[in-house]
Amino acid sequence: MADTDRKDRAEYEVPLGIVHSALLEPFRTRLFVDDETVVDAEITYDSAHRGIERIMEGMPVQKGLIITERICGICSHIHLWNGTRMVEQGLGIEVPQRAHHIRVIGNELERIHSHLLFLGHAFEILGHETFSMRCFMLREPVQNILFFLSGNRVHYTISVIGGIRPRADIDKEKRRTLLGMLNSLEEGCKNFANRALKDSLIVSRIKEIGYLSKDDAVKYGALGPNLRASGVCEDVRTRVSEYSNFDFDIIVYDGGAVLDRVACRVFEVLESIKIIRQALETLPDEEPMNVDFEIGEMGFSTSYNEAARGEIYDSCALDESGRIKNYINRTPSMSSISAMEVSCIGDHLTDASLIIASCDPCLTCTNRITVVDENKGREYVLGPDEIRSMTRRRRI
């Protein structure tokens, strides 16, 4: 990364808010520009550190795992599922097939709402309010489905060790309603996919910016849809045994541009609906919970799974009384940050906030963007409003 502490540079900084209307979390992006082309980027994020892994140290495992759900308000189910899965594998606890199906349903619903949220934000940054509002409108039924399934719109707490929470079980009546809700959701998503990806205005605006090559994507550790949009066919779901019963396609795009990342997510939504429908139709008729287990000492256990943004990793050990030791959680955005920085390079300054948003960072937002002009040797900070109006005014 570029030398940020050069002595010969006068620095001007305009302090602006921590909040960005597009991506809600606080992080700071510094873009180094030559004229108006980005030559280097640097993302700093540390304002939201809460020390969750430290809190969980020494907690009973059932209690500690609930806290993993509070890591993220977008992908809350996958954190809990992956944590439970890790403990179940480590202790050799059998889980009924029905519980696996319901957990998969939870994960795929979460993927849908996460991707729709991403699309809403991306189109908002692009300045296309209509599409943005359509995405938010599409997302609301998904939240309602999750609320209907589990009783909460954001933190669903579907998995518990040994199975699922009884409230999240799906009886016949619930299954019929869910399938009906799913049909209308699929229709809405298909209409939106057709409309958005055939819109010549949108496509010409995003098709050649934010290029992330296949080699760079692998080298800088991009994960999930960002990696698949750069032409790498990699999905952890293919290796997760819970998914082996379901038939779905992995969406891979070769372009590596913003358009590919958007299109990849649009079609992943449709694949997720396919998985949910299969899971609902083949739901086995059995008890969803296995209570016949004992929690005791467990060696170091790990688990990988595919969250909405890519691979997620959890690991921990338990002591004799079932208390957590050394919990480690690695979320996909942690790995994708460098790829975001790289994909900004070589593009126009006005596209940078869109490119970073197109990588779907799940940590915090471009609260302020510092622009460092390499030739003139000055540094200034742009607020969210300025950046957004620049992005919207950009001529193609």
Binding site: A48, G73, V154
Partner: protein
Amino acid sequence: MMLKETSRKNAVHIMLVYTGGCNGCDIEVVNAVLSPFYDLEQYKVMLTWNPREADILAVTGPVTKKIAPALKEIYDAIPEPKLVAAIGACATVGGPYANLGGDLGSSDQIIGGVEKVIPVDAKLPGCPPRPEDILQVVASVIPLLAEKR
């Protein structure tokens, strides 16, 4: 007086500040105000990102030490009369991070509820609160704003 009251009632601006929570409450607030489903904008309540323009400061998440000075600065930048709404379990009492450290003492990272940093007028518990509740808390706070002058 009348003009001021009328104009204030007809253009309430909410500024949303994220202070280190999990995103759940933020998205629910944005959902309640911005998204076309709940659409608080129809009651002339707008989301803003400029403290100078704001009337209500909505804070979500437990306040981390890193972000506390920024939160204070934002609070000071909002012109009087102003109200602060703490939204979600973390912002009201600290949520799962309230007893962080327990017997060992305070946390290195988290201060706790918003109250410990800036004065709070309205509290909305829930993990996360539903958009309907957010609509209600905003509706109940607007008269306070008119009284405060």
